[in-house]
């Protein structure tokens, strides 16, 4: 160790791979760490925060396999194996919760995937820079509204008989609907409001891809006799396909990851049979009822499924289209 350090001291520290450093072509780890200690110092705070607050809780996952005992702490409880997982699987609420989670998230996944692509293709058709900028500014805006406000907008607009959307529906012949208390409408309310809020924001990435299209390609296609729709079909769409593929894979990793906040806030006694999902159930069991081990087991189960979905989607995509995340 001392040998390697002394071999670097003749070189000036902190000057990076200067020509003089060529005398020691392959610096060892320690040499490298010494020379770049300032970079490591800049990295250190972030590493510490992530180690404590992201990796720290992972250590606590063992709770899913132990009977939590407040007197013995996190790791002191008796080892019970998969007992808490079995408890969850045999719970009569297990299948309804799984079904709700999958239904809500699949709708959101599919619609939330298609809508930004369509919007980006549409915005890309606008010739005027000003109009384009205006449309973008407007459609990005809802992304910044908080979940609490979005959910209360849904509630205000859909209030039975007085809400403005309830009235609008009555114009179309749907009288006295109470969508807020309907179990059938819950997934639809969820994904529609989700699309309304994020479609503009999620289209940015596709617009960025579309802006990289070589204009000569359009010219060539026009000379070949392509109309507007054919330009979209044969030039624009292939351009954004790789981006879309990667996003789809990443989204698949969240198939059981329906956001807690919005579902929790949208829940009411009437729609609960359709709106209880894994994340809200975990919260209620764990925080409200103090069933720590049980709740941890459900959370771990949820994460494991998500991870498997991500890997499967990635492998399929790799085979089918050569696009993959890892």
């Amino acid at each position: 160790m001392t040998l390697t350090t002394s071999s670097i001291t003749p070189n000036e520290p902190n000057t990076g791979p200067a020509p003089t450093a060529a005398s020691s072509p392959k610096p060892t780890w320690l040499q490298s760490a010494k020379r770049y200690w300032q970079l490591w110092a800049m990295l250190l705070p972030a590493v510490i925060f992530v180690a404590i607050f992201s990796y720290g809780p992972m250590y606590g996952i063992q709770l899913a396999f132990r009977r939590f005992d407040i007197t013995k702490g996190l790791t002191g409880g008796d080892w019970v194996g998969f007992a808490y997982f079995r408890q969850f699987f045999s719970n009569p609420q297990f299948w309804p919760i799984m079904r709700n989670t999958v239904v809500i998230s699949l709708w959101t996944l599919v619609m939330g995937f298609i809508a930004p692509i369509l919007l980006a293709l549409l915005i890309n058709q606008i010739h005027s820079r000003r109009v384009k900028g205006f449309v973008q500014t407007v459609t990005y805006m809802p992304h910044f509204i908080s979940v609490v406000v979005i959910v209360s907008m849904i509630n205000l607009f859909l209030t039975p008989s007085t809400g403005i959307l309830t009235r609008a529906l009555a114009v179309f012949g749907l009288h006295d609907v109470n969508l807020l208390g309907s179990t059938g409408a819950f997934p639809m309310l969820y994904w529609m409001s989700e699309v309304w809020q994020h479609v503009g924001w999620n289209s940015i990435i596709y617009l960025a891809a579309l802006s990289s299209v070589d204009l000569a390609l359009y010219e060539a296609a026009k000379i070949d006799g392509a109309g507007r729709l054919q330009l979209i079909r044969y030039v624009d769409l292939p351009t954004i396909l790789p981006t879309a593929g990667i996003l789809l894979i990443l989204n698949m990793g969240h198939v059981l990851g329906v956001g807690f906040e919005k579902v929790y806030l949208m829940q009411n006694p009437l729609n609960l049979p359709a709106s209880e999902v894994i994340s809200t159930y975990t919260y209620k069991m764990g925080i409200l009822q103090n069933q720590f081990s049980y709740s941890t087991a459900i959370g771990l189960f949820n994460m494991a499924i998500n991870f498997v979905m991500l890997v499967v989607a990635n492998q399929i995509s790799k085979k089918v289209s050569d696009t993959s995340v890892f």
């Binding site: 979940v147 007085t162 109309g227 720590f292």
Partner: protein, 319 residues
């Protein structure tokens, strides 16, 4: 793939090609093309209206007579001017405590976010740093694997973060997604020649980062600063799970109480007694509260909006 590279090329191509397609379009624009144009214009108009109208309606409903709102008389413009909701809001101490708390959490949180994230992103962008791939992997794993709610809760408990305002600031210090965006920006948008020049001038990495990199990175600082800021401002979950004391509650929890738990007339606004207090007054307060709580972000938004395309694209290319 950086935007700086693309734009000049696109501009050149456009200036050269522009006159031609214009003339050609004028000649060859078929009835079919016209139809497509009209359909596109109609769709765009419909989409803009679908986004703007709900927001506009919130605004006009907040200053209208609620009986007219609830009977469907208020459609395009405010009717029966009434600032009742706002008057009640200004008297309600819960909202202002929540506001003050959220501002504190947002400012402190965003400051820590930037101080921790930017230097780390810069270090990770330096190719000469041996082992940066391993560190990157260490960060990326946390995007897909986490301990879950209860282990996190128990950790915070053991660290004394329960019912402590620092829980809004410290645990969320690093967002890996933002870290990756910033790293990609430093990699692609800061010319390597600057680093060579800085080395010749004898600047250390600290000096190079502070004197050269940061001043050149206002775009990315604005974008990830806004991401962090919005996340803090809209954070509802942290307050719900980890805070018990009412006086420490952030704005979003106060909003939840007023907007969703129908506590519009209880507590704070002492001027009115809860009983016999009609739905229309509650609604009036709700519309007002939505406007009051959302306005700050919508005011900041247009100033930072121009950086969005860039920020999101950088994140997308290397994300």
């Amino acid at each position: 793939m950086s935007q700086t590279k693309l734009q000049p090329a696109a501009k050149v191509a456009k200036t050269q090609a522009m006159p031609l397609p214009h003339r050609r379009r004028g000649i060859y624009k078929t009835p079919g093309d016209w139809a497509v144009d009209i359909v596109i214009a109609a769709l765009i108009t419909a989409i803009v209206l679908m986004v703007l109208y709900p927001l506009w309606f919130l605004l006009i409903a907040s200053v209208s007579n609620q009986n007219l709102v609830n009977t469907g008389k208020v459609v395009w413009w405010p009717k029966g001017w009434s600032t009742y909701g706002y008057e009640q809001i200004f008297k309600d101490s819960r909202i202002w405590t929540g506001y003050a708390n959220t501002i504190l959490y947002t400012v402190a949180g965003t400051a820590l976010n930037l101080v921790v994230t930017l230097p780390a992103a810069f270090a990770l962008s330096r190719r000469e740093l041996k082992g940066r791939r391993i560190v990157m992997f260490f960060f990326t794993v946390t995007m897909f694997v986490s301990g879950g709610l209860i282990p996190t809760y128990l950790l915070y408990e053991s660290l004394g973060l329960l019912d402590n305002w620092l829980v809004f600031v410290i645990p969320s210090a690093v967002n890996v997604y933002n870290l990756i965006i910033a790293r990609s920006f430093f990699e692609t948008s800061i010319p390597e020649e600057l680093h060579d020049a800085a080395q010749i001038d004898g600047l250390s990495y600290f000096g190079y980062f502070i004197k050269i990199v940061v001043p050149l990175s206002s775009a990315i600082i604005a974008v990830i600063g806004l991401y962090y800021m919005v996340a803090h401002w809209n954070d509802f979950f942290t307050g719900l799970v980890y805070i018990q004391t009412t006086s420490k509650q952030p704005l979003q929890l106060v909003l939840r109480d007023i907007l969703l738990s129908n506590q519009a007339m209880s507590g704070g606004n002492g001027s009115v007694d809860g009983a016999g207090y009609g739905q229309e007054f509650a609604d009036s307060i709700k519309y007002g509260v939505i406007i009051v709580s959302t306005l700050p972000l919508l005011i900041v938004y247009p100033f930072i909006q121009k950086y969005f395309n860039k920020g999101v694209m950088i994140g997308a290319v290397k994300g």
